[in-house]
Each structure stands twice: as C-alpha cells, then as structure tokens.
C-alpha cells in the first residue's frame, strides 16, 4: 500500500505490465517525455524508445498502427491525449479495433488499451472537455472503463492491459493529481463498487462525479447508497439491481450531456427490470464554454446532485 496520485497509479500499472511482458508497448504523442499529465514519466528511459514510441500528431495512424501491432501479437497501450482528439481516429476505433476479431472469424484479436481522458478540464473549453463515454459503450466489441480513484486507475488499467480486448480507457482530466492509497491489487473490469451504503436512494455514477456524489450524499436528508460503476461496458447491473431492489429509487449522475447519455441506458434497464422510480442528472446539451460562468453550467456539482436527491420524496 502506498500513497500516490491518480497519474502515478496509472504509470505504475503500465510500468509493471511492461516489466512483466515484453509484448506490452506504449505509443502516442509526447509519451517519451512522460505525457502531458506525466502518466508515462520515466518509462521511455526505462524500457527504451522502441517500446515507448513517440509518434507524430497522427491520431488515425496511432490507433490504426496499434491495431496492426495487436494483430501481429503485441499489446499496445495507446495514448490519445484527450477523447476529443480520439475523434480523429474513429474509423480505427470503431471499424477496425472493435470489429477485426469478429469479422475475421476469430483469426486475430485486438488486445489494446486506448487511453482517452474525458471530462471538464478547467478553462479548456469545447474541444478539450467532452465526456463521450456513451459513444463507445454503444459499439459492440469495445470495453469502456472510467476510473474514479488512484486505486482504480491502477487496478483497472492493469486488468485492461491483461484483458485481450480493445478497452477504451477514460481517465478524467481533473483527477490526475488526486491522491489515494494504492494496493497491488487489480480491479476486475465490469465490477462496480459500493462506495457508500444507504437505504433510501441508489445513486449510480462514475469518474469524477463519484466525488461530488459522495459529498452530496453526506448532506442529504435521504440515506443514499452511492455506486461507482467503474466500467460502463460491461456494466455491473447485478450490483445496481441489488441496491435499487433495496432502496426502490435510482438516481444516475454523470458529467456527460444527459440527452442520450449512458445514464439513460441504466435508468431504462432498471425501470424495465423492477419498475422503480428513476431519475437522471447529466450535463445540459451545450458545448463547454470557456469563461468560468459558462463552464460552470456544464459542471455537475455536489449542490446540483443534492438538489436532485432532494427532489425525491
């Protein structure tokens, strides 16, 4: 057990995987200098430029080359910098990485981890602040992970690298400096964590909003059970169903735009299964503005979550 940041925890997971398995490689812009969040710090010095590969600003080919590497048997960790830039590689993600194993009848597989941070990144405006996790959860073949803590960033990333599937790995732009104790334990993909127990309302969330949700839960008049989903596909419906079966009320909260967000999928699934009251709280359907009062409109704060909780009677 050691205290480290969210960024350091991820770095440790990659470092251990590279030390253990020569087939694990890293590629992306600026990774040799540690990456813009220092999440690859020191790895090129330790493992060499052939395995920690600096690339041109060529997102389509970063992702496409990773597909080729994976088909040839390597296990690439792909750096996309922010999810907004990964949009330049959508063919390579959706048509190639997600489909190759299936459409080739299982002759090859694309085991890779594509890291593409999401979420508000204070002052970074519309093209560096999006939360597009639902786009990827919609695509058969992809796994989607959304870690909220240093421990999960270590444990989920280790599981993602080991999985053999194409994993869309979405760290949060504002969590890199978050500190936490990290044990040398992996976190299974597809398994949620109950971060707070309660009896009146089940609050399902992920990524940075887990922290705002906990804050809101503490001051709520209701006894709130908070579930950190941790993986959006496959998502842990058993844990959520078990909790809502007890509380009979569900609130899903995410920073992504509410309309057609993944919260709708969870709410609909639970409503279909057990017919309880469901509510959603997500971002308004606006681009993220630069000025603070504009950016704040897109932010899912503890106050907004508390207000949504209060509206349950």
């Amino acid at each position: 057990m050691a205290l480290m940041t969210y960024a350091e925890a991820a770095r440790l997971a990659v470092r251990e995987a590279m030390a253990r398995d020569r087939e694990v490689v890293v590629l992306g812009e600026d990774v040799g200098r540690g990456g813009i969040f220092q999440q690859y710090k020191g790895l090129q010095q330790e493992f060499g430029a052939a395995r920690v590969i600096d690339t041109p600003i060529s997102e389509a080919t970063i992702m496409g080359a990773a597909v080729g590497m994976a088909l040839a048997g390597l296990k690439p960790v792909v750096e996309m910098r922010v999810v907004d830039f990964a949009l330049c590689a959508m063919d390579e993600i959706v048509n190639q990485a997600a489909k190759a194993r299936y459409m080739f009848g299982g002759q090859g597989r694309v085991g890779l981890v594509a890291r593409m941070p999401v979420g508000l990144w204070s002052g970074s405006a519309a093209q560096h602040s999006q939360s597009l996790e639902a786009w990827f959860a919609h695509v058969p073949g992809l796994v989607v992970a959304v870690p909220s803590s240093a421990q999960d960033n270590y444990g989920l990333l280790a599981s993602a690298i080991a999985s053999g599937d194409p994993v869309i790995y979405m760290e949060h732009n504002e969590l890199w400096g978050l500190q936490g104790d990290v044990a040398a334990e992996t976190v299974p993909l597809g398994k949620a964590r109950v971060v707070r127990t309660g009896s009146d309302v089940t609050l399902v969330t992920w990524s940075r909003t887990v922290h705002a949700a906990l804050e809101a839960a503490q001051s709520s008049k209701h006894s709130v059970e908070v579930i950190d989903l941790r993986t959006l596909w496959p998502w842990d419906r058993e844990t959520v169903l078990g909790s809502v079966g007890k509380t009979k009320r569900l609130l899903v909260v995410h920073e992504a735009v509410q309309a057609a967000g993944f919260g709708a999928e969870i709410a609909a699934t639970i409503a279909e299964a057990i017919g309880v009251r469901v509510k959603r709280l997500g971002g308004p359907r606006i681009p993220v503005g630069y000025a603070k009062p504009l950016e704040d409109e897109a932010r899912i704060t503890a106050e907004r979550i508390a207000s949504a909780l209060d509206n349950f009677n």
């Binding site: 080729g68 040839a72 299936y102 459409m103």
Partner: protein, 317 residues
Amino acid sequence: MARIRAFENAAEEASRGGVAAFGATLSQAQVRGPLHLSTGQEAVAAGVCANLLKEDFITSTHRGHGHTLAKGASLERMMCELFGRATGFNRGKGGSMHIADFSVGMLGANGVVAAGIPIAVGAAQAIKIRGQKRIVACFFGDGAVNRGPFLEGLNWAAIHALPVLFVCEDNRWSATTATGTMTAGEGPLARARAIGVPGEEVDGNDVFAVDSKSLILVKKIRDGEGPQFLHAITYRFKGHVSVDPAAYRDGEEVSRALESDPLTLAGKAIPAEEARKIRQDAEEEVKRALEVAAAAPWPPAVEAYQDVQDTGSGQWR
C-alpha cells in the same frame, strides 16, 4: 493470375441478384452484398506476392480476392467465405470485403479505403520491435491517396524506417469517379517521394515488370533501407461492384484497356498450349470450389455471438 481471373469470373456470376445497387434488384444469389472484383488487375497481386515469403504480411483492400490468392490462401475456403459458409476463412462473418487468412500472413481486406495503411504500418512496427526479418506489403488503390491515413501512414513508416512495401494499385477509378479528376498534383509516386518514401512506377498489367520492380524494392526493404513505394498502373475491367455496368466509362477507354489484358500479355511468354492448360486447370479448380461452397454448412446462429469480446461476453443488451 489465371486462378484469380477464374475466381473473379465465377464470383461475379454467383453474385447476380446479390445486392440492390446500380439499378439491380435483389433476388436469390449465392454471393450476397457488394462484390468488388479485381478482374484485370491480376498482375499486380501476382507480381508483388511472388516476392514475398509465407511469413511476410499483407494488408488488402475491399478489392482483395487477388491479393489473398496470390499470398497463398486457399481458393476453396475463400469461395466458402463468399458463400457465407461456416467453412470460410472468416466462418461466414466477413464475406468478400473482410477476407483474411492469417495462416499465410494475410491480415485482412478492408471495407474502408486506406484503412489498411495504418494497420500495415503497425504490423511492420511489431516486426521491427521483435527484430524479425519479415516485411509487410500494403495494397491500396488510387482513391486511397486522397485520404489522411495515406499521408499519416507513409510519414510514420518513413520516420521509423519500417519494412513496408506500399503498393498503389492504380485502376484509375475511385468507385464511379475517375480518380484523375479528383487528384491534384503529380500523382501517387510524387506524393510518396514528397513524404520521403522512394519508389518506382510500373506497368501494372505486365506481371514480369511488376515482379522485377518488386524484387528490387523488396530487397531494399529486407536490406533495412526502410519503406518503398510501387505505383502499379492497371485497369479495373468491371464496375465498382459486380452489378455496376460502369456505363459512366468511355467505351474506347475500356477497349484499349482490354487490349492490355494482363493474362493475355503474360500468356505470350509461354507456349499457347501451356497457357491454355493453366487457364483450364484454374477453371476446374474454381468449379470444384463452387461445388464445395454450395454444399458447405451455414454458420449456426450462435456464431453471431462469438468472437465479439471476452470481457462482458454474454451481456448482449
């Protein structure tokens, strides 16, 4: 080349009624969906692949039957795949556009123009990282040079000095549009050179010329000189897909191209009787493949759920 021609002719016949496009209507057909034929382009596949070893990789295009056969894949299993049968290379999940045979290093045809370029580059990087001697031949069409991955992939291969032979198989048509009307500058080879990838232009209908140019370029790649580029100029005898009558093309252009049929040209190099025998053998092989494919089992419905992903397998909704 004869085997490719015979395969394409038979596949074309079996695809009639297989897709509703270009005014054709859907009816019963053994080969379903869009079928992109490489008829007339056989010399490029044969001439390049003659210089590859079994362990070398290729990536291909939506027009990939010829490349696949030339790399050594089973004609019969490819026909089974076009028929959508469980015994096809892709167990009926890919069809013509996604033909692949990893056992001979054929890493896949691709339904997206230029998408094979980054994949080829990545496979070459894997080879380099592992210190292997293999190379990658990356086939793409003239339309691909107008997509971003062409620039990105060639640049990437050049800066990393990767063992890739880029083969621009120039059939002069981008679907139903003449590529020349949509492409500025001096063409594919000039673009490659500008990016730092040297290469050669060749008559893509002359299999001996393609073979000898490929020999030189492949040797350079194996000697560690980095990526090379082959611009092979050929012609697409058929429409964009098998049901496309290609009425948008000038009749004279097509007649002239037919005079440069790569099979006829290659046949002149050997006794007529030998050429006839080669073509006859190929047609008989294809006939047997058609029979095998028609009798082969369909994939069971459960196959639709296999090889999607391991994590979360079973969670389909």
